[in-house]
């Protein structure tokens, strides 16, 4: 288990992480969601010990960052997603994969298998400087897969990928989850996170403002666009208005009779509605306006 205990990190007066307490289990995919500059990458860097918190600690399977030996031990267990601009342009993709596979030495899975899974065979033996952005992004992801560490930290892994590649990587992520990997990923692709994240952490003002259990979320909401007619019809009900003018009415708080009446009124007023769970995008709008 990966644990962050009372982690506090500030740059001058700007507190980026304020007494963060988090526990992550193996075999889950955790999404980190927040607008830019809210602390997602900082949190990842604290987990990697690239930034040392002023207070609190990070612990994985009983080991904390206390000595260089501990750091190496933890880095053996935690691999982070490199930035594509940092790849060696004159090396091939295979060179990079072999490097990570060999350095982490966690896997018996051959590099060729990873290349086949990520459909990189046609270009992996070319120099990286000839790759498109999408190819580089896939290579960076493949490097983390090659490291095969129990914890994988992915910062904006889907950036620059077309829908096909997003689907391909999502599929591999689910496979990795089955292999009991803990995957923590910062992403702006909320609909994608919605599909496979087990947990989504919304960050803001140094805190985790919502720790959403995406799989066990059972609350359903009546959703409709805000309008004077709609707000008039909902005046007797408890509802929330999101910054994108979406009205959310929690169904659990309405009796079946009242719900039937409300739906009939909405149809009569020709107001379009849907009944579904609240999604990550809605929450993003809710929290970050």
């Amino acid at each position: 288990m990966l644990e962050l205990k009372d982690v506090r990190l500030a740059f001058g007066k700007n507190v980026v992480l304020d007494d963060i307490n988090l526990k992550f289990k193996q075999g889950e995919i955790v999404g980190l969601v927040a607008p830019n500059g809210t602390g997602k990458s900082t949190l990842i860097n604290v987990i990697l010990h690239n930034l040392t918190p002023q207070k609190g600690f990070v612990e994985y399977e009983g080991t904390r960052y206390q000595s260089q030996k501990d750091t190496i031990k933890l880095h053996q267990q935690i691999c982070s997603f490199p930035e594509q601009s940092d790849l060696f342009p004159f090396m091939t993709g295979r060179d990079h994969l072999n490097l990570y596979a060999d350095l982490w030495h966690n896997s018996a899975k051959p590099v060729d298998q990873i290349i086949a899974d990520l459909q990189m065979k046609s270009y992996v033996d070319r120099k990286v400087q000839t790759y498109s952005l999408g190819m580089k992004q896939r290579l960076c992801f493949a490097m983390v897969v090659a490291a095969d560490s129990p914890v994988m930290l992915l910062d904006e892994v889907m950036n620059g990928l077309d829908p096909q590649n997003v689907a391909l990587i999502s599929q591999i992520l689910l496979k990795l989850k089955e292999e009991k990997k803990l995957i923590i990923m910062a992403s702006h692709l909320l609909s994608n996170l919605q599909q496979y994240a087990d947990r989504v952490l919304f960050m803001g003002k140094g805190h985790i403002i919502e720790d959403l259990d995406n799989k066990k979320q059972k609350k359903h909401y009546l959703k409709m666009q805000s309008s004077p007619e709609a707000t008039k019809l909902l005046s007797d009900y408890h509802y929330e208005t999101l910054p994108n003018n979406l009205l959310l009415v929690p169904l659990a708080e309405i009796t079946p009779d009242k719900l039937t009446q409300l739906l009939a009124n909405l149809v009569k007023a020709d107001i379009q509605y849907s009944v579904e769970r609240i999604d990550i995008e809605d929450l993003f709008n809710k929290f970050y306006n």
């Binding site: 990697l48 190496i72 880095h75 982070s80 090396m91 490097l99 596979a101 060999d102």
Partner: protein, 420 residues
């Protein structure tokens, strides 16, 4: 797990444009050395029948006249004092001419053993006449006079040649090593390399080592997130990078040496490591002036020195690049350290100097000066050789290692920072 990282770094090192430039520069230098510098090098003690023949004819004629002059002065009733030159000639020329006669005969028969034996005797005899007896009928070749010290430089030159010839003769006798014109003129590839790997030549190679190393650590900032969190300790990374530069430098120098050898060997022969050579002991007026050793032993000492010196400069440049976070500054500073001794005190051609210089590591960075004994001659004191140099070099190495160890132990000092 470290092997792949090593290979990856080695590939990055070999593909680095700056390093490719250094490789090309070294190759051009070795081509220049093999094709231009050595063939145009003037051998002072040439093995050539023509000047001996000329000298033999001239001296025989002079001796004849000198004898007539002496005979004239000895005639009863004549009050005539012969010139000093005539007296000296009658006293010394017969022995020199006898040697010359043997030399010419040996050259005609290609009998190198006899030639070497009589040439050695001749050098000893003439050196004794000039240096000890102050005879002015003989002169050292002007080419010996390098530091405006004609008498001493000439004496050293003759003694070195004499001892070298004796050593080559001993080698021929004991180990059946060959003797020929090129060997006596020290023109074979291995002998030329031995005599050339000193002074600025070696210092330029050391500076190349510094610039090979300058960006080995700082370059990682270009690939920051790829290498930032790899599961290797800072010390391991630095050792592996040191290994990469060692291999790169070794490769560079081997290629340069092979090119030089290929340029020289067809023209002058390769020579053999079993050949004898001499190293000056720093006591010009003592009985034991030079020690004899094989070229193989010489090269072994040279290589040990070279490995230590290159290791010192690789680790020093790494230390400087960690300290200043700038590859140019690191390369420049370590290069300045490399040439410091040459610039600060050897270029001034000083004679006896305070023994403290013998304890300084930079005294030994030009390697060949130390292993051939040239340094002992320049300093006019014994020592300054392989055994004297090992201590200071090892102490310097230890000091650099201690500082590097401290650097790697401090958590707050990363090898590279993104903003460096």
């Amino acid at each position: 797990m470290r092997w792949r990282y090593f290979l990856f770094q080695l590939k990055a090192f070999l593909l680095n444009p700056k390093n490719i430039g250094l490789f090309i520069a070294t190759i051009i230098m070795s081509l220049y050395f093999g094709l231009v510098s050595v063939p145009n090098h003037e051998v002072i003690e040439r093995v050539d029948a023509k000047p001996i023949q000329k000298e033999y004819i001239d001296d025989t004629a002079f001796l004849k006249v000198a004898r007539q002059e002496i005979a004239y002065s000895n005639k009863p009733g004549y009050f005539y004092f012969p010139s000093k030159g005539a007296v000296d000639a009658v006293g010394t020329y017969p022995k020199v001419l006898a040697c010359d006669k043997q030399l010419l005969r040996a050259l005609k028969k290609n009998d190198w053993q006899t030639y070497t034996k009589y040439a050695s005797r001749r050098y000893q005899y003439i050196d004794n006449l000039i240096h000890t007896e102050g005879n002015q009928n003989f002169l050292y070749p002007a080419a010996y006079n390098k530091s405006n010290n004609y008498q001493q430089d000439g004496h050293f030159g003759y003694q070195r040649t004499r001892h070298l010839y004796n050593a080559l003769l001993a080698g021929k006798k004991n180990r059946q090593t060959p003797l020929d014109k090129n060997i006596l003129e020290e023109r074979t590839a291995l002998q030329v390399m031995q005599n050339s790997l000193s002074g600025w030549t070696v210092l330029i190679l050391v500076v190349i080592v510094c610039f090979f190393t300058a960006d080995i650590v700082t370059n990682d900032r270009k690939y920051y997130t790829v290498l930032e969190n790899i599961p290797l300790s800072k010390r391991t990374i630095l050792w592996l990078k040191t290994g990469v530069v060692e291999v790169g430098v070794l490769l560079d120098f081997i290629v340069a040496s092979v090119i030089a050898l290929f340029c020289l060997a067809p023209r002058y022969g390769m020579g053999t490591l079993r050949l004898n050579t001499v190293a000056y002991l720093g006591r010009i007026n003592f009985k034991l002036i030079f020690k004899t050793e094989t070229l193989g032993m010489y090269y072994l000492q040279f290589i040990i020195f070279a490995i230590i010196v290159s290791f010192i400069f690789i680790r020093l440049t790494i230390l400087l690049s960690l300290t200043f976070r700038n590859d140019y500054v690191a390369g420049m500073l370590s290069s300045l350290f490399a040439i410091s001794a040459k610039v600060l005190y050897f270029s001034f051609g000083m004679g006896f100097v305070h023994p403290v210089l013998e304890k300084l590591p930079m005294t030994y960075f030009s390697i060949g000066d130390s292993t051939t004994g040239n340094l002992a001659y320049l300093m006019d004191t014994p020592g300054w050789g392989f055994n004297s140099g090992l201590g200071p070099l090892l102490v310097a190495m230890l000091a650099i290692e201690t500082l590097l160890f401290l650097f790697t132990q401090i958590k707050s000092i990363p090898l590279v920072r993104r903003g460096d």
